[in-house]
């Protein structure tokens, strides 16, 4: 047994808790999960069926933990894990499964295939078989935190440029994008790039929120690697920042896996949070329901459809909030079929969009999503996850869909600014909070 295999198995054994063991044991191999998987739906090769993917883990699990697997391995398809198996497992766990759990929803047993694939990813990362790009992105994020002073000035200068744009958009020369503001109530964690900072800044300004922008980005490639140490290190900097600034809540940019990490996973890695964690989708829906945002839906006249991102929707619970927002900010909203918890994955999740050599693979995996979009006749596809937006944009180009891909907050800002410029008052006037000392 090679050292790589030993490392992989050591991680597997540490992962083997009750939930994982149940998922490994309960499969009846009925095959009904197959058609629920977007990868299988696009390419009906039995190896793409979730049960077949999970079998790549089950066969060595049985070899190690099932008496029949130890004495009569051929009877139950058990085998020893080898280096060649690790290669195959990497293609499956990282390249053929986006951890979307659509199969789990459709399984009579409720087999958590995503949990099995995550265990496989953890093994592969430990064995050095994870995609290089994901490793580099995770390590770059950790390095940034370790060299924060080096990046700080550059980051703040970029924020100053955005601030000027904020002032121009809102018509308020005092509008600010605060950074490291002690006493702020909200710590907003954006993604890399202005596209998730400016829209949020406009909305925070609109509702008079007492907020500050995080020095860090919400993306967590350690999570894609299923490397808890890396994922924890990346999340820790945000948690520490929130504690240090004494905020009451963290609001996350539109990002699926970032929401999963900080909302659902991180509370299991750290001491109890003295703040709550929400997505900006939840916050925006709340503001709209509270009447704090004047909105003009004629600013978004094109037919719009909504892609329920797996991490936010099916596995995060944010199924109605996006619809509350869309009904308020667009004129023609059209549901995909299926939608909500039954929606199909875009095919680019769990890090696939970040791995260049898997472009063709994810284009094939996105076929079912393309059909869904086409059926709506929409001109705009809204997705609240950055990875989904990248994938949907690539799918539109690849299949000639001719749709524009938009974030949800972009449409909210369109509707808000249209109303704001027409001096339409908000049903509830904002209470302006000082932005704090300029940095």
């Amino acid at each position: 047994m090679s050292e790589r295999v030993q490392r992989a198995l050591a991680v597997f054994e540490r992962s083997l808790d009750r939930r994982l063991l149940t998922a490994l044991e309960v499969c009846a191999r009925c095959g009904i999960c197959a058609e629920s998987c977007h990868v299988f739906a696009a390419e009906p090769d039995f190896r793409h069926a979730p049960a077949a993917k999970a079998e790549a883990v089950r066969r060595f699990y049985r070899r190690l933990h099932d008496p029949i697997g130890r004495w009569f391995p051929w009877w139950v398809g058990a085998k020893d894990l080898t280096e060649a198996d690790l290669e195959e497992l990497a293609e499956i766990a990282f390249g053929a499964c986006t951890l979307c759990r659509r199969c789990t929803m459709n399984c009579p047993m409720g087999v958590d295939t995503a949990l099995i694939m995550r265990a496989a990813r953890a093994m592969l990362t430990a064995a050095g078989k994870a995609p290089e790009m994901l490793m580099q992105l995770a390590d770059a994020a950790i390095a940034r935190e370790e060299n924060l002073e080096f990046f700080r000035e550059f980051y703040i200068n970029q924020i100053r440029d955005l601030e000027r744009e904020l002032q121009e958009q809102t018509g308020d020369p005092d509008a600010r994008i605060p950074v490291e503001k002690a006493g702020a109530e909200i710590l907003y964690v954006a993604l890399s790039g202005a596209h998730t900072i400016l829209p949020a800044a406009i909305l925070f300004h609109a509702v008079g929120a007492n907020w500050t922008l995080s020095m860090f980005e919400a993306a967590n490639y350690g999570y894609f690697l299923a490397d808890i140490q890396r994922a924890r290190a990346i999340a820790q900097r945000i948690v520490n920042e929130a504690r240090r600034l004494g905020v009451k809540e963290i609001i996350l940019a539109e990002c699926g896996h970032a929401y999963t990490v900080l909302r659902w996973e991180a509370p299991n890695w750290f001491e109890d949070f003295p703040f709550r964690v929400r997505s900006i989708i939840e916050a925006a829906a709340e503001w709209i329901q509270q009447g704090r945002l004047p909105l003009d839906p004629s600013a978004n006249p094109e037919p719009v459809t909504y892609h329920d991102s797996c991490n936010l929707g099916r596995n995060g619970g944010l199924l109605e909030e996006p619809r509350i927002i869309l009904r308020a900010v667009v004129q023609d909203f059209r549901e995909m079929t299926p939608n909500r918890a039954e929606n199909f994955c875009c095919g680019g999740g769990a890090g696939l969009v970040a791995v260049p050599e898997w472009y063709e693979k994810r284009m094939r995996a996105g076929r079912r999503k393309v059909e869904q979009i086409r059926q709506t006749g929409a001109r705009v596809v809204v997705a609240s996850c950055d990875n989904c937006r990248l994938q949907l944009g690539d799918l539109s180009e690849y299949y000639g869909l001719g749709v524009r891909v938009s974030g949800l907050m972009d449409l909210v800002v369109n509707a808000y600014l249209a109303a704001h410029r027409r001096h339409v008052p908000a049903p509830v006037a904002p209470v302006r909070v000082p932005a704090g000392e300029p940095f």
Partner: protein, 205 residues
């Protein structure tokens, strides 16, 4: 001691072995760490768990069963037959003193179960996808349970099949913890974790 009584004792020993084997499996599962989810829930977990065991099992609840209603019904009838055959085993010592209506009902239920099992075997043999997923244990497990149900049907048709029914019952009971049939234990945990996960996220339930 008569042959039937001897078989009866063998079945009881097999039952002990089967329960012991399942108990060992359960012990192995409970010995594993359980990491409760400490993230603040969006919804009550209990609702998800209740859903997972009730409405979540209905054919309209899942796209897979909506699209494949006949296989769903086959599975339901197969498992109904299993329960009917277990009940047959339990009441078999008193067969001759049971009300006359029990035998036809037992015959029909075990027979339907056996038919469901036979269709399942055929599907596994002739469906390329299922064949690719299957190991010898998969074929053997469903074949054993099907034949056992057929023996239950035969038992109701003619008491002379009692020996064969008990023999197959003993074999099936011993096989439970050793074969795929043991998913009957893990099923409850799987649905519980499923309900817990989606209940806390207010997605289901």
């Amino acid at each position: 001691m008569s042959t039937t009584a001897l078989w009866g004792w063998i079945v009881l020993i097999a039952l002990g072995l089967g329960i012991g084997g399942l108990g060992w499996r359960l012990y192995g599962l409970l010995a594993r760490p359980y990491r409760p989810d400490r993230a603040p829930p969006r919804g009550p977990a209990w609702r998800g768990v209740v859903y997972a065991f009730t409405w979540g099992m209905m054919p309209w609840a899942k796209e897979s069963t909506r699209r494949h209603l006949l296989p769903y019904l086959r599975g339901v009838l197969f498992h109904l037959g299993i329960f009917a055959t277990l009940a047959t085993l339990a009441i078999s010592p008193w067969r001759l003193s049971l009300p006359a209506s029990i035998a036809p009902a037992g015959l029909v239920l075990t027979g339907i179960g056996a038919a469901g099992g036979l269709i399942g075997i055929m599907m596994r043999i002739f469906d390329e996808r299922l064949r690719a997923l299957s190991h010898p244990d998969d074929y053997a497990a469903v074949a054993l349970v099907t034949v056992w149900q057929a023996a239950g049907m035969a038992f109701w048709a003619d008491p002379r099949w009692t020996g064969a029914f008990y023999a197959l019952s003993a074999l099936t009971l011993i096989a439970i913890p050793l074969t795929k049939i043991r998913h009957c234990l893990y099923f409850f945990f799987s649905r519980f974790f499923f309900g817990l996960f989606y209940g806390r996220r207010a997605v289901l339930g």
